[in-house]
Amino acid sequence: MSDSLLLNILLLSPLLSATLIFLLNISIAGVKQYIYTFLALMGSGISALLALYISYFSYAENQVLGSHLFTWLSIENFIVEVALKADALSSFMILFIAPVSFLIHVYATGYMNKDKSYGRFFAYFNLFIFFMFLLVLADNPIIMFIGWEGVGLTSYALVGFYFEDIKNTYAGNKAFIVNRVGDFGFLSALMLLFIEVGSGGLSFDAILSNIGQIEPSMLSLIAFLLFVGAMGKSAQIPLFVWLPDAMAGPTPVSALIHAATMVTAGVYMVARFAPLYNLTLDVSLFIAYIGAFSALFAAIVATRQFDIKKILAYSTISQLGFMFMALGVGAYSTALFHMFTHSFFKALLFMGAGAIIVAFHHKQDIRELRGIRESIPALFVMMFIATLTISAIPPLSAFFSKDAIMSALYASGHIELFIIALVASLLTVFYMFRLIFVVFYSKVKQAGASNSRSMIYPMAVLTILSIFAGLLNVPEIFGGNLNISNWLNILDKQFFISHSDEIILMSVNTLLIIGVIFYTYKRYAYSDTIEKESEHSLVANKFYIDEIYSAVIVKPLYALSVIFDKNISHHLIDNTIHRLALYYEKLGVVFSYSENGNVRYYALYMLFGVVSGFTYLYILLRAAL
């Protein structure tokens, strides 16, 4: 089997299964559910296997797979090939995307069991994977952009999956629209890139090898615009507003799209353009700050949320903020590694939340979900491990990844970033354990349904991954050799930090975390503190960001629309035209007074004509003579 064929199959098998499911779904009513299950799992399963295979070879033999499908567009210099390339970065991406996708597929077969839109769901789901693969495997940014937009689109469809409730639809709309604002930046950046260096080819390699020719200010602009795209996709300030709302979708969707894969696309993109960002330090720093504020802001907001999925959503924003901080200071592989671990534990958290939701009659408010530990012990264990992971308790995976970020921040010399990151990470611990303690440690008890095995087993796999994934990139200090960083081989900025400093950092960090856990336990476990927390505080209302956006952007646009259509188009232009016509007719009426039917007046007009004609003639003749 040739290598390019492997890539093609990897990419197209989800598409094929999506198409098949889709066609079955729209053309034949009452298809047996297992057919869909089979198709969906085949699609994602094949690609997961292939992804593992390809990544392994990339890792082990450093080989770069490529595949050229066809020419998408070729106009003058603008030659866009539909080409796939699995270099280290891409391979790394598919390494976790494909398996996690597959696991979530399996999970979803349980979650969506007996749902009447079962087929539709998996059609979208597989389509999403296709676009995600396209995004990470594309060899040029235009095709990447197609994948980029495609995941946004499928995300839209999946968020609004239960469209009977119009609110879900609006959440989907919001997701897509905000994403598109980011895409606006991304696309603009691509266009500028092409104009600057497009004549040398549009593949990533060609572009990145030519960026030296671009003048710095333009380069900064491009870098900034690219990051605007990332902001949208990865839900960073100010374009984060869609993500919490996107929780309206079925939980597997949240797990897959809004935790593990799509939202990380921004990180991937920035890493992909690492050579560019290395040249634009101003923009990089900007990214770091945006990441920092996002991390802090989301963490603060998450502390006063009650919806279990919303908490996780804000947590995602916050974690993405960490990644961007790392990216901003140039620690690309560190960011990528955190993304890697994050995808496991965050997916796990979401799946756990989903399992809870399914088990407890679709209740999502943590105040109503109290005391459920006894009825779902396995879930509790997995959720607890995941929470520990996200809190970066050593030696769980996130410890390695988050610690690397903290060290990089510290070493980069931006202490303010480091402090923000620290605070955010402590807040993370706080809100996550708030969730755990409120839900599982309660005096009240309630019983729920049990979850199907198809839901539990994938979670178990992810639990294991969450625990051990960190081992793939153990830093030197623990005797590791940073396997992943080396494999990725991105132009990371090198930070020097002494081992003693690093150990101090780690220990202080860990101690603080444990302290926070205890504080949280005191505050929430077996207590009613949660009931006393207001839903109307500034934080609970996310600092009124949605309202501000609505007042600043949506409402003015709407008002503008009224002004444009009513006042300008209708009143100003159209009425002027109507009035002109009306005046013409009125003038006709006025003129018709001359046609009064009296013959003497008619003769008088003739006389007027004669006299004025002669006056003219006389003046002319006088002049001529």
Binding site: L604, L607, F608, V610, V611, F614, T615, L617, Y618, L625
Partner: protein, 166 residues
């Protein structure tokens, strides 16, 4: 010189009677003033040796047409109270005169400016019936014939319009 004086008197008379014609309230007065004007014009014809035209003018205009008008006036038996009540007649007359004045003035100015008189001396018998007749039947036979058709048309038309239903 004598001719000029006669011309002046006749011209004045013509103008005065024309003005009377257009301003008289009753049509019968107008008609009588018009007769005077027509006769003056006939005399002016005579003054330039147009003897045949002089006769024709008297016969056709003063005789035929005017009697036709008078006949109509009588026939229709328009009483004074049936006459239009022309309250603003004088204003109209004045206004129209003012409007038409530039037209007349311009034409008169143009006529004065143009030196059109050639002052040929007429031959013997000029303007007599024979002279006119010869010209009419040599040079102007076509218009003449056409006029006959025109009269026929007028006749047919008048009959068509004025005849009673059977």
């Amino acid at each position: 010189m004598q001719n000029e004086i006669i011309f002046a008197i006749l011209a004045l008379l013509t103008i005065v009677s024309s003005i009377v014609m257009i301003s008289a309230h009753r049509p019968i007065d107008s008609a009588l003033a018009f007769i005077v004007a027509l006769i003056c014009i006939a005399a002016l014809f005579g003054l330039v040796n147009a003897t045949f035209l002089f006769v024709v003018q008297i016969i056709i205009y003063a005789g035929a047409i005017l009697s036709l008008i008078l006949f109509i006036v009588m026939f229709l038996n328009i009483k004074d109270e049936n006459l239009p009540d022309e309250k603003n007649k004088n204003w109209w007359l004045l206004g129209t005169s003012l409007i038409v004045a530039p037209f007349g003035a311009i034409l008169i100015d143009l006529i004065v400016r143009s030196d059109i008189a050639v002052n040929m001396v007429p031959a013997e018998g000029f303007g007599g019936i024979k002279d006119v007749g010869l010209t009419l039947f040599s040079k102007w036979v076509l218009p003449f014939e056409l006029v006959s058709i025109l009269l026929l048309v007028a006749l047919v038309g008048a009959v068509t319009l004025a005849k009673r239903d059977n």
